[in-house]
């Protein structure tokens, strides 16, 4: 096998990755041995990978670790206070639950859904990390093959996705969809 300069440049990245067939590797090495241009490109590219791969390349700003730790501490303590508050609220909720059940009537209703095709996402854990795309209408579990516009995805909490009007993907979020709702009525089944 014989390769020219253009072929070497095209494969130089795969060569450095060790991701080429042995025949091609041998042919490239044979070519590079006699070609100053390709030697320069290969050596330079290898240097680039080595330099940028060195962890000294970036330094964290002075005080970064302390600020990060402080923010984490604040968040954890906030969560603990929130948990205590939640416990109190939960106890209160239990007390009024009975009367709520009694008071529930046919006048009680769920909010209207935004889309004719959307399924309610009431069963999705609010803190679950989900993926949305800027132009899409649904949110997905990471890696779902039905994500549209994969070049513009972002990961957010399900709570945030619901608030922004995204509906759960009916394929990857199937387990969370409320089976008691019908497409046609958009109301819970009796």
């Amino acid at each position: 096998m014989v390769v020219d300069c253009e072929h070497v440049w095209r494969e130089i990245s795969n060569y450095l990755e060790g991701d080429i067939e042995p025949d091609l590797r041998a042919a490239m090495e044979e070519h590079v041995r006699g070609c100053k241009h390709c030697t320069a490109v290969l050596d330079g590219t290898r240097n680039v990978v080595q330099l940028y791969g060195d962890e000294r390349m970036f330094e964290v700003p002075l005080g970064f670790s302390q600020r990060l730790q402080r923010r984490l501490d604040e968040n954890m303590h906030h969560d603990r206070r929130g948990f205590l508050g939640w416990m109190v609220a939960a106890a209160a909720a239990v007390l009024v639950a009975g009367s709520f059940e009694v008071g529930r009537s046919s006048g009680f209703s769920h909010p209207e859904l935004r889309s004719e095709h959307a399924h309610p996402g009431a069963g999705v854990p609010p803190d679950m990390l989900v993926v949305v795309s800027t132009g899409g209408k649904t949110f997905h579990v990471p890696g779902c093959p039905f994500i549209h516009d994969k070049a513009h995805i972002q990961t957010i909490a399900a709570r945030e996705a619901l608030r922004e009007g995204y509906a759960p993907c009916i394929r990857c979020m199937r387990q969370y969809l409320n089976a008691g709702w019908t497409k046609r009525s958009k109301r819970p089944l009796a």
């Binding site: 060195d54 390349m57 964290v60």
Partner: protein, 218 residues
Amino acid sequence: MPEEVMTLGSPAGQFNEEMLIRRIRDGEHDLFYELIRPYERRVYSAALAILRNEADAEDAAQEAVLKAFKHIRQFRAEARFSTWLIQITVNEARMRKRKEHAHMLEPIVGHQDGEGNYTPRDFADWREIPSEILERKEVRHMLSEALASLGEKYREVFVLRDMQHLSIEETAKTLGITTASVKTRLLRARLMLRDLLTPGLGGSWSSKLSFAKGTKPW
């Protein structure tokens, strides 16, 4: 080789990491900082490479770490914790970048052709560069400037693969693109960086000879 790869990447380090994660999930939240401490630099550098602003990068890095803490129960052991953390960081940085319309300031390097159509411009020979030169601030600045001048899609792939040491597959998954696109963009990013840095770091054997003149090898 990054320090954390030598320690936490080892079987013993991996075991320690799994133990830490289990204890944090069981309620020992104060251990979380110990878990992420080896990755601080990587988290910050990933955010900085995307946002190109130190204050924004620090804010995004903090937010990413908080999200990782809140969602630690969703972490699946089949992935490396560092990869998961970097993925959250990249998504956080990209989301901020979109919100702030920073793409309007995107440099033009890397946009002049379709993916993969890049011909090396400068054939000056590179001597072997000792890694000690990274101790020099002006060299780090030069490397940062060159990286910042790449188009976003090339910079992201290069940062994840060559700086964060994610695999090709992990890089593709993080960015939501195919492995073929990762390889194409990586090739181009590496060659562009080499061209950008050759005047400063390369030798002076030759430059811009016949190869560069109007040829499009692919």
